[in-house]
């Protein structure tokens, strides 16, 4: 790859040295380009600066395009591979073992997901707050599934810098991040501290009253 780039600059350098005022390729018609190609192959052709320019620019452009395109596999390989993507498929979680007031942590795509079975008190607290006063205004209703108000499902990663908040801690009956002191309420919304946004809700749905599918 390196050498192709070197070639580009070399070819461009040559082209620059012999370039005419007026430039390229605006002055060319298609037929002239074709003719230029033909004449280049015959050694006896007289020197003609513009044809020479065309050849150099074409070669340089081909080297540049080839060099840039061939970088793609070297970048693309960094993305998740097929097995990682396949392992990130949706998971099902049985909710029956979770008693009211308790929560569990499951992993999906390597991220901890908090599933909280909220008490009536927690739900009321989350709904009584004035939404417009929140740093990241969102209603509690929009963060849970209708008819399943007691279940809060959030990705347990602090939106500040990625630490894992502790459940049932802090001043808001929700989550407290020990790293930099962010506090989330019982709906997983940011209430205090440096985190800019609420704990995100992962894509999920209820497949039955006691079972959810995350992903």
């Amino acid at each position: 790859m390196g050498s192709e780039k070197g070639g580009l600059s070399a070819a461009a350098g040559v082209a620059g040295a012999g370039s005419l005022p007026g430039g390229f390729p605006g002055r060319f018609r298609r037929s002239q380009l074709m003719k230029g190609f033909g004449i280049v192959t015959t050694a006896s052709s007289a020197e003609h600066p513009t044809r020479r320019d065309f050849l150099f620019v074409a070669t340089g452009a081909a080297a540049a395009v080839g060099g840039v395109v061939s970088l793609w596999p070297f970048v693309s390989q960094m993305n998740p591979d097929a097995s990682t993507i396949a392992a990130g498929a949706p998971i099902e979680v049985d909710l029956t073992p979770i008693a009211e007031g308790q929560d569990i942590k499951v992993f999906w795509r390597g991220k901890p997901i908090y599933i909280s079975h909220r008490t009536k008190k927690q739900i009321d607290e989350a709904r009584s707050v004035l939404v417009s006063s929140l740093p990241d205004p969102q209603t509690d209703q929009s963060r849970v599934k209708e008819g399943h108000d007691q279940w809060l499902v959030v990705i347990g990663i602090c939106t500040h810098l990625g630490c894992i908040p502790i459940a049932h801690e802090g001043n808001y009956d929700g989550f407290f991040c020990p790293c930099h002191g962010s506090q989330y309420d019982s709906s997983g919304r940011i209430r205090q501290g440096p985190a800019p946004a609420n704990l995100p809700v992962p894509p999920y749905q209820f497949v039955s009253d006691t079972k959810i599918q995350i992903g």
């Binding site: 050498s3 070399a10 350098g13 993305n79 591979d81």
Partner: protein, 688 residues
């Protein structure tokens, strides 16, 4: 690096930096204004080609290391997951594996060029010795890299090569233990080889800097072998040498791409697709082709210490070349005798390479000894003698004179050397494959839809093959590198995601532990791999009369047979690489009644195509055993064809992507090389 530069940058920023760190001036004087002899031929472009190859090997190697796991239990599988799952992983792996061969091919041409034109003579001795050091480092790097995939050849290559050091008197065994980090080649060995394989290329790069520095101090040698005297003898490096090197590089890339996209396993050994097994040595241990001449020297000497000494001496003697050949005339062009002996020496090296791949017996050993003597005689007797008795032809007065003389004609030697080298290379490569010489009947060739540059898998055949695997083969054979999701991959059997999920859910997969700490069975998911029929190898052996049914994921790449000379040379051009499926298909159809003369061990069956004919697997497929929904005939012939196609896909699921991208790359490279050719001609038109 050639004296103070008159480089005067106009850009104020560059001028500012240049006053504090004259790096632009260095680049300018080394790679732009640097005077290069105007009569250099294309053999001189291999320096640039080698730089490119070193860069590419480091780049692809660093990337492979991001996905590779240097652990004896995981290494083989991690290489397979690179090839199967990582985006463009197959491309990067092929580039790196074929790149090693291309690197060595280029370095051999570069070395023979130096030998022919006397590039090691005063004042270029240090330049030459640095080159020998680079070559030694390359050999070490290449060897350790070959160990990393942890296949059978990796493991046994590592065992044999490290055991070379046990020949050292008194401390040999201690040194070998030190190298292994254990009592045998094992996980510690693999770990340290990985670390060193990552380190050494950067050492090579460092020595290459010294090599180029020494080159720019002494100036380049040239085909005439007379030093440049006036400005008429030279042209500036840029654009003249740059463009010429670029053209050489793009031609080389076409050759390289042929291996990457169409013949990725041509230079490899099928045995290396079998995971390392410390209990079984492959029938023929053969190093990679680039070590074969030295391997032949090692084997031709019946004494262990003497053999190892001879092998290392064969490389070290190169470092003394400047003092062995004391002839004043550099270029063999003007040395009628040296020129002939040079070509004889090339042939000796190629033949040694050929012998290195042959079994060490009979005529091969005798020939190996004769050629070993010839090899050393060339350096130790012939070159010193020639420099005393040979009368060289008159040299041209200057490089400019040489160029004038050349334009009057005579380019025949160039053509003949190209042909000679091409043949030699072919022989070399093929000799590696010749190793498995046997009087065995070879499997009959078949028509495969996936053969050739535009080959594709036949979807129907893949689906039927899957059915045969599921109903018959899977009772004994694992397919553990294939996940159910692969059935929906592009270039595969062509099932939909939903069909794949349904197929997977029919399987019971062991999972766990659950909250109670117990393992449990659950229906399969697309991300799961095909479950193995036996929990471990011991259970598999116990259920199969002591024989271990191999995992079939890679079977079509792990089995091969000899093609013979000169067929393997044509194979390179016709892209024949279907030995594996031919073999699998032949085995399934090769069950016959035992000939009266043959004796079979108990519990084995006679198979025409199985090496040694005694196979433990009873005939697995009979006419009518599996019925197809699509109305294909329920015959053994059809079964053999379909299962072989399916197993070829299992071994090489990215083949269609590889060939498709290969076509695009070839179109581009050919167009680009054409452009480079005319550009080079245009640039050089001024110089003549």
């Amino acid at each position: 690096m050639s004296g103070p530069s008159d480089y005067q940058p106009t850009n104020p920023l560059i001028r500012w930096i240049e006053r504090r760190l004259p790096i632009f001036g260095l680049v300018h004087s080394s790679f732009v204004a640097y005077p290069t002899p105007r009569n250099l031929n294309y053999w001189w472009t291999f320096g640039a080609i080698l730089s490119l190859m070193l860069g590419l090997q480091i780049l692809t190697g660093v990337i492979l290391a991001m996905h590779y796991t240097p652990n004896a239990d995981l290494a083989f599988r991690s290489v397979e997951s690179i090839v199967r799952d990582v985006n463009y992983g197959w491309l990067l792996r092929n580039m790196h594996a074929a790149g090693a061969s291309m690197f060595f091919l280029a370095v051999y041409i570069h070395m023979f060029r130096g030998l022919y034109y006397g590039s090691y003579k005063e004042p270029r001795e240090v330049l030459w010795i640095l080159g020998v050091i680079i070559y030694l480092l390359m050999m070490a790097t290449g060897f350790m890299g070959y160990v990393l995939p942890w296949g059978q050849m990796s493991f046994w290559g590592a065992t044999v090569i490290t055991n070379l050091f046990s020949a050292i008197p008194y401390v040999g065994d201690s040194i070998v233990t030190l190298l292994w980090g254990g009592y045998s080649v094992g996980n510690p060995t693999l770990n340290r080889f990985f670390s060193l394989h990552y380190l050494l290329p950067f050492l090579i790069a460092g020595v290459v800097v010294l090599h180029v520095w020494a080159l720019h101090v002494a100036g380049q040698n040239n085909p005439a072998g007379v030093e440049a005297k006036t400005e008429k003898d030279t042209v500036p490096f840029t654009p003249y040498a740059t463009i010429k090197d670029m053209f050489g590089v793009s031609c080389f890339l076409i050759f390289y791409a042929w291996f990457i996209f169409y013949m990725p396993n041509y230079l490899g050994d099928a045995d290396n697709y079998i995971p390392a097994n410390p209990g079984v040595t492959p029938a023929h241990i053969v190093p990679e082709w680039y070590y074969l001449p030295f391997y032949a020297i090692l084997r031709s000497i019946p004494n262990k210490l003497a053999g190892v000494t001879a092998m290392f001496s064969a490389i070290i003697v190169l470092a003394f070349l400047p003092w062995l050949d004391t002839a004043k005339t550099r270029s063999s062009k003007y040395r009628p005798l040296a020129k002939q002996f040079f070509w004889i020496f090339v042939v000796v090296c190629v033949l040694l390479g050929y012998l290195g791949a042959q079994p060490p017996e009979g005529i091969y050993v005798i020939a190996g000894r004769i050629l070993t003597v010839c090899y050393f005689a060339y350096f130790l007797i012939l070159l010193p003698l020639l420099s005393r008795i040979e009368t060289p032809r008159p040299l041209p007065n200057s490089i400019a004179d040489d160029v004038l003389a050349k334009s009057k004609g005579q380019s025949v030697p160039m053509v003949s050397t190209v042909i000679a080298l091409a043949l030699a290379g072919g022989l070399f490569v093929g000799s590696a494959q010749n190793a498995r010489a046997d009087e065995q009947e070879t499997p009959p060739p078949q028509n495969w839809s996936f053969a050739g540059p535009f080959g594709k898998y036949d979807r129907g055949s893949l689906q039927r093959g899957l059915k045969i695997y599921k109903e018959v083969c899977s009772n004994c054979h694992a397919l553990s590198y294939i996940a159910f999701r692969n059935l929906a991959d592009p270039g595969g059997p062509g099932y939909s995601v939903a069909q794949t999920a349904a197929f997977a859910s029919e399987y019971k997969i062991k999972d766990g532990p659950n909250d109670a700490g117990d393992m449990f069975d659950r229906p399969g998911r697309p991300a799961d791999y095909f479950p193995s029929p036996f929990p471990n190898d011991q259970a598999a052996r116990a259920a199969n009369g002591g024989g271990l049914p191999p995992d079939l994921s890679l079977i079509t790449k792990a089995r091969s047979y000899e093609r013979g000379f000169p067929r393997f040379i044509f194979d390179f051009f016709t892209q024949f690489q279907e030995q594996g499926p031919n073999y699998v298909s032949a085995i399934l159809q090769g069950y016959e009644k035992k000939p009266a003369a043959a004796t079979l061990p108990e519990g084995t069956f006679y198979n025409k195509y199985f090496p040694g004919h005694a196979i433990k697997m009873p005939q697995p497929l009979q006419d009518g055993q599996v019925t197809f929904d699509d109305g294909s005939p329920a015959t053994l012939k059809q079964y053999a064809h379909d299962i072989s196609t399916f197993l070829m896909w299992a071994a090489e699921p990215q083949m269609e992507a590889r060939k498709r991208l290969g076509f695009v790359v070839f179109v581009f490279l050919i167009l680009f090389t054409g452009l480079m050719y005319f550009t080079k001609k245009r640039v050089w038109a001024d110089a003549h």
